[in-house]
């Protein structure tokens, strides 16, 4: 390990804190993005988009469809109690979906599916010394392994969030039509008064943040794996939990910033 060139960013080699490693990986990935390394890792990015994004479509669609049906009922219940009217269902449902639910639910699903598999994959490479092998060949493992996964993670999270919001809203509309006797036209007309392009932009900002942070956390834990298969297992658990907490905290911070801006 001592023979490795010192100018490289080498996470997980010394006794450093998780934060240091996380920041090192982040810096390296952002650096690669600024330099425009996209073409060199183009194929790998596409592979990762297929694995992370396309592979997560079924679970995201199923889960958010049910979430959409629930949200109409919940909002109806609360608004009936608070404002004694259910005529606001379209507006409040759409607001809640575009600002919170349609982003948080897919993000948490992506954390547990993509985050866990990334940590397991990178951790497996670490404990079988494939990452050491890359280093000996003079290849920067962060740029080679993490960067494509990071770019693919951002892209798939954005795409999946759009899909999830559409599915959630669609199911919420179906529920409202079937159960609360709204007409489709009436629903969409009310909806337009409550949500606008700024909500969509806010949702994309949130999705961008979650999509950027999840692969970085997952890969950090993967790089820090040691102790064989058991180490990979515990790293996977910790990575999912840390990424979930990171998503929840980011959600709070961004929501707060958006309320300040509004």
């Amino acid at each position: 390990m001592a023979s490795v060139a010192t100018h490289q960013v080498i996470p997980g080699t010394n006794r450093r804190s998780y934060l240091t490693d996380f920041l090192a990986i982040t810096r390296s990935c952002v650096g690669s993005a600024v330099r425009g390394d996209f073409r060199r890792s183009g194929t790998e990015i596409l592979h990762q988009v297929s694995a992370q994004g396309v592979g997560s479509i079924p679970i995201v669609v199923i889960a958010t469809a049910f979430a959409g049906m629930v949200v109409t009922q919940e909002i109806a219940f609360h608004m009936d109690h608070a404002l004694h009217t259910t005529s606001m269902i379209p507006g409040f449902t759409a607001q809640f979906i575009l600002r919170e639910l349609g982003i948080a639910v897919p993000a948490l699903l992506i954390v547990s599916k993509v985050g866990a598999s990334l940590t397991a994959e990178i951790g497996g490479m670490k404990v079988t010394e494939q990452i050491e092998a890359l280093r000996l060949l003079g290849i920067d493992p962060v740029r080679y392994l993490v960067f494509p996964r990071w770019v693919a993670g951002i892209f798939s999270t954005l795409a999946l969030t759009l899909l999830a919001m559409a599915v959630t809203l669609g199911c919420a509309i179906v529920m409202a039509i079937l159960k609360f006797n709204f007409g489709l036209q009436e629903y969409l007309n009310t909806l337009r008064h409550f949500v606008g392009i700024q909500d969509l932009i806010g949702a994309m900002v949130k999705a961008l943040a979650y999509g950027a942070v999840t692969p970085l956390i997952a890969c950090t834990y993967g790089f820090r794996c040691d102790g064989g298969a058991q180490g990979v297992g515990s790293a996977t658990t910790e990575s999912v939990v840390s990424a979930t907490i990171a998503v929840i905290i980011l959600d709070f911070i961004l929501t707060y910033l958006f309320t300040l801006a509004a």
Partner: protein
């Protein structure tokens, strides 16, 4: 799709076996109680602070969102009730059980999966011990009971978080916040939250034990079991959330006026 259905069927049979074994008399002279105590301690030491921490933020996020909705109607005095009701009935159990799925579920699946692929479970069977009774039942009981307790803790903490944000962001007096809770969140709401927590506890425990117990294919198989334990748990929780919501609503219509 067919693999998902096969998985669900296998899980249902596993549930039946485990619950049957849990209800049987303990044949190990109090050994099971000790195992359960150990597992509960393990689960708590792993997840208590995580749950508390995320609970605060979940409450805070909800308070911010409802504040944005209610402020146009000058109805922020109702924020406490609405946030409490949404936290307890819906969002709190959902998000915290997602977290438990990642934390306890993945750990249990990894542990049982490692025992399976290193043939420790086969060894236990060869010694004439029922591996379900010895390995799965204590974990199952411990996870169900502590998941329910952790969810309750998380819900209470999330109320605290929403109260803090309510008073900071929208100037709702904490006393006013508390006073508006009974209007929205009566016994029925707490009952619904408890029912959901119990169901999610069963899902987290059952799915993670099942994935670990049926793991195969070496270290890679354990990794797969861990990942799928988290995914299936989240999926089943969202599905259960919908069906329980329907059930609770039907029940509340039936018993309207009783409470």
């Amino acid at each position: 799709m067919s693999s998902v259905l096969r998985e669900m069927g296998s899980l249902a049979l596993f549930f039946k076996t485990v619950i049957h074994a849990s209800l049987q008399k303990d044949r190990s002279q109090g050994g099971r109680a000790r195992l359960i105590r150990e597992q509960i301690a393990e689960v708590y030491s792993r997840s208590f602070w995580t749950v508390v921490f995320s609970g605060v933020f979940v409450g805070a996020i909800l308070a911010l969102q409802f504040n944005a909705m209610l402020v146009d109607y000058q109805a922020t005095s109702l924020m406490g009730g609405i946030t409490a009701s949404a936290c307890i009935r819906e969002v709190g159990p959902l998000i915290i059980s997602f977290l438990l799925a990642g934390k306890i579920g993945a750990y249990t699946a990894a542990e049982l999966g490692t025992m399976r692929v290193t043939e420790q479970i086969d060894a236990i069977e060869c010694l004439g011990t029922n591996s379900i009774e010895y390995l799965v039942v204590p974990r199952f009981i411990a996870i169900v009971s502590s998941a329910v307790l952790l969810l309750v803790v998380g819900l209470l903490v999330s109320l605290g978080g929403s109260m803090i944000i309510g008073s900071l962001a929208s100037g709702v007096n904490p006393l006013q916040f508390l006073a508006s809770i009974p209007r929205f969140a009566g016994l029925g709401v707490f009952g619904a939250g408890m029912l959901k927590s119990l169901a999610y506890g069963f899902i987290v425990a059952g799915v993670s034990c099942h994935q670990g117990y049926t793991a195969s294919g070496g270290a890679r198989g354990v990794g797969r079991a861990v990942t799928w334990a988290a995914i299936y748990t989240n999926l089943y929780i969202v599905l259960a959330n919908f069906f329980l919501g329907q059930l609770i609503e039907g029940f509340s219509i039936l018993t309207e006026g009783l409470f």
